[in-house]
């Protein structure tokens, strides 16, 4: 292949943090105008390589060639000036800035020493029009949805004349319609010759939108493939270095009596919600982002107020005003955003695991740390937690292992009902399938598991029964037998989610 064909080349990039070699051999070859997927389990070195490219990290060895010339950015601003922009997974918008102010942040239009707001707004409106953006330049950022904020980031990159845009899991918090819209934008940019690096754990998307893929494993570049000539199974085995036989390790287990029942629940974002869940059952909850799925579950767990409705646990009515009461009664919930709602990142794994169960496991005035350590170690082994020691900060773990710590916290509480909100978001393929097997093991032990997921294959592969939400109400129920018999499928579930 001729060298001039690449806009970006990375040769043997190395980066170590302390004693750990995060990136051993980072290779990457990006052509102009292509969408290049980056695949690998969490901790495979994808993000590290990206951060080396945009100058957030300074790499220890190797060479980056950008448009044929050696390139070493000292920070994201320098990278942006050179035409490389990164859209981070977690956006940090300034809610009180207008759209125009966000787009032109750090390069404001000025007249003398004063801001020229009028011209800046005009310029912004022109660009927004090109992208068919539904709001004007004067709108405050806080009025936008997450998807629209992301679009603003992309618009900002384009307006800086970016020739390479890195997108880190751009669809992780988008619903399917928003994802479609993003894909249309990506295709437009492609036609304009902008190259894109697309990091995602979602195979379907990669096959749909990307041209080529580079695979990473354990900080090492495994290889690149044309997506036309490769199968999903091949990619997975490249990523994990082994074949994953069954994507969803669902085991059939005996379903017992009703453990939990909700009657006519009403709250912020949902109403008229009734359902029940049985011992040993995995109840899937599907629907669009913002359809009231998480809100219902958070209200049951006591994180948000329940305006109306009754909850019954093992036949008896229960009142839950805060999570403490829910936990004591045996209802636990893994929240969707583990960094905000799941973990104290700067405290040890041990403290994170035991915090919720201290009231009933530690009755004495002083903590019994020996017992605590024993319990945490045991549960860590059960969940195959990969950590050097339970005394390390939760911060030091990869996404999948962080999620295991959150799971461990609730397993220690021995819950009757375990609610999981997007349990495998941002988790790599290996850990994902481990979490799925664990769910089956919990169910087999007689736990009732409720799982919210935006990934249809996951809901369909794991659930005994699926409730589909549409605009705050349950708009239908699908049983596993119906899926297996073929009377219901992905399409019928989506139809219900869209309100048909």
């Amino acid at each position: 292949m001729n060298k001039e064909n690449y806009i970006l080349e990375c040769h043997n990039i190395r980066k170590a943090f302390g004693g750990t070699q995060a990136l051993k051999n980072g290779e990457l070859y990006i052509r102009p105008g292509e969408v290049h997927a980056l695949l690998g389990e969490n901790g495979a070195g994808k993000s590290t390589l990206m951060k080396c490219i945009i100058g957030l990290y300074s790499f220890d060895g190797g060479e980056i060639l950008y448009e044929g010339k050696p390139f070493r950015a000292r920070g994201p601003v320098e990278a942006l000036n050179a035409g490389i922009s990164m859209i981070h997974q977690e956006l940090n918008p300034e809610p009180h800035l207008t759209i125009a102010e966000s787009i032109f942040l750090n390069r404001e239009s000025t007249r003398g020493i004063f801001l020229d707001k009028k011209r800046q707004n005009q310029k912004a409106d022109e660009i927004l029009k090109k992208f068919d953006f539904p709001y004007g330049a004067g709108t405050l950022m806080k009025k936008l949805t997450l998807a629209q904020m992301q679009m603003i980031e992309i618009i900002k990159a384009v307006s800086c004349n970016a020739r390479l845009i890195i997108m880190d899991e751009p669809t992780s918090s988008l619903d399917s319609e928003e994802t479609r819209q993003l894909f249309r934008t990506i295709n437009d940019l492609k036609k304009q010759g902008v190259a894109m690096i697309y990091i995602s754990h979602r195979m379907e998307e990669i096959f749909e939108i990307c041209d080529r893929v580079s695979v990473f494993r354990d900080g090492t570049y495994v290889g690149e493939k044309d997506l036309e000539h490769v199968s999903k199974e091949d990619l997975i085995s490249m990523m994990v270095g082994r074949k994953i036989e069954n994507v969803f390790p669902k085991t059939e287990c005996e379903i017992g009596e009703v453990v939990f029942r909700a009657e006519n629940l009403k709250g912020n974002g949902f109403e008229n919600v009734s359902f029940e869940v049985r011992k040993g059952e995995i109840l899937g909850i599907s629907g669009l982002v913002g359809s009231g799925r998480s809100e219902t579950m958070r209200a049951i767990f006591g994180l948000e107020p329940l305006e109306e409705g009754k909850l019954f646990l093992e036949g008896k009515e229960v009142k839950i005003k805060n999570p403490g009461q829910a936990i004591r009664k045996g209802i636990c919930m893994v929240n969707e955003d583990r960094k905000s709602w799941g973990l104290s990142l700067h405290r040890s794994i041990r403290e994170n695991m035991s915090v919720a169960t201290l009231p009933f496991k530690q009755k004495r005035l002083l903590l019994n740390k020996k017992r605590e350590e024993k319990e945490c170690k045991e549960i860590g082994e059960l969940l195959k937690l990969k950590a050097a020691s339970i005394e390390h900060d939760a911060f030091s773990l990869s996404g999948g292992n962080q999620q295991k710590v959150v799971l461990a916290k609730w397993l220690l509480a021995d819950p009757k009902v375990l609610i999981l909100d997007e349990p495998t978001r941002g988790v790599d393929v290996g850990a994902k399938s481990e979490i799925h097997s664990l769910m089956c093991r919990f169910a087999a032990k007689g736990m009732a598991v409720i799982m919210i997921s935006s990934e249809l294959p996951e809901v369909m592969g794991m659930s005994d029964r699926i409730l589909v939400y549409h605009e705050g109400r349950i708009n239908g129920e699908v049983k596993r037998e119906e899926l297996l018999a073929g009377t219901q499928n992905q399409e019928t579930i989506l139809n219900k989610a869209f309100g048909q």
Binding site: A16, G18, G19, F301, L303, N322, P323, G324, Q325, A326, I327, R328, M333, N335, S340, W341, G342, L343, S344, L345, H346, R347, E351, S354, V355, A356, L358, P359, Q362, L365, L366, L367, K369, K409
Partner: protein, 324 residues
Amino acid sequence: MENVKAGRVTDREKTRMFMGKYGIGVVLLFMMIGISIIEPAFRSGSNMINVATQVSINAMISYGMCLAITTEGIDLSVGAQLALVSCTIGQLITNSGWNVWSACIVALLVATVWGFINGFLVSKFNMFPFVVTLSTQLIIRGFAQVISGGQSIPVTNSTFKQIYSAKAGILPVPIILLIVVTVVMYLLLHWTKYGRYVFAVGDNMQAAIASGVNVFKVKTIAYTISGLLAGIAGIIFTAKTGSAQSNIGVGYETDAVAACVLGGTSFAGGITTIPGVLMGIFIIGFIYNGMNLIGIDSYYQSMTKGIVIILAVLLDMVMNKKNT
């Protein structure tokens, strides 16, 4: 070549980790060695007891401050609490002829109630701790002025003055109080459920709520304890000076914050250790004591304090690589 390089990196890494964990101890040690070389009198047992007695006041305040900071707050009212406690005691013992112990208990109660009010406002209404305690500080000092009529009240009761001067063996009462409070605070923060909740709330309040922690209770108790400890500090202070004044304790919150920060307490919340804060308290104490012994003008003491804090925190940042 590669291997040799890697080996050296690990060694440097080891030093870095050691310094990250014990850096403040090393700073304290170097300081003590440095001062004793310049001024040998520093090393004497009587001077050490002297320093420990003097730092006991700041120590009480610092432990309370450390609780407030670790729950992502701050308690600026501690200096004014000192004044209120002092004036309450002066009023009760000297002007009303109360028994010493009843007066002390009432004074402690007053400080504790103000601590509770701080905590209640912070956690119930979700107000910024800085704003709450900045305001209550004004109110508390106002009360102190009203009680004392703006005048200094001499407290000559000999039993009361014994609180500062009496000794058990060679240890004066303030040092014994310092030891007791340090042990209690150590157990509270590192060996009880409450301590765990303080860390959880400070590190990530949302995650703490979702784990069933009662944030209202945790924060309110933190400020209440801070009030109580400021009360103890106020009693020691008044016993030391023998007079009750409404203008004492100004700027004492600065020394307390300084001791916390030196001891590795994070302003982002969720991180602190009692041994660390204790070392921070002594570093501040040695700055005063050492410079007095060496004979440096007190004007330079506050400059030195500022510089030492910045250097120590910088050292901590470099050692823990928090800047990357």
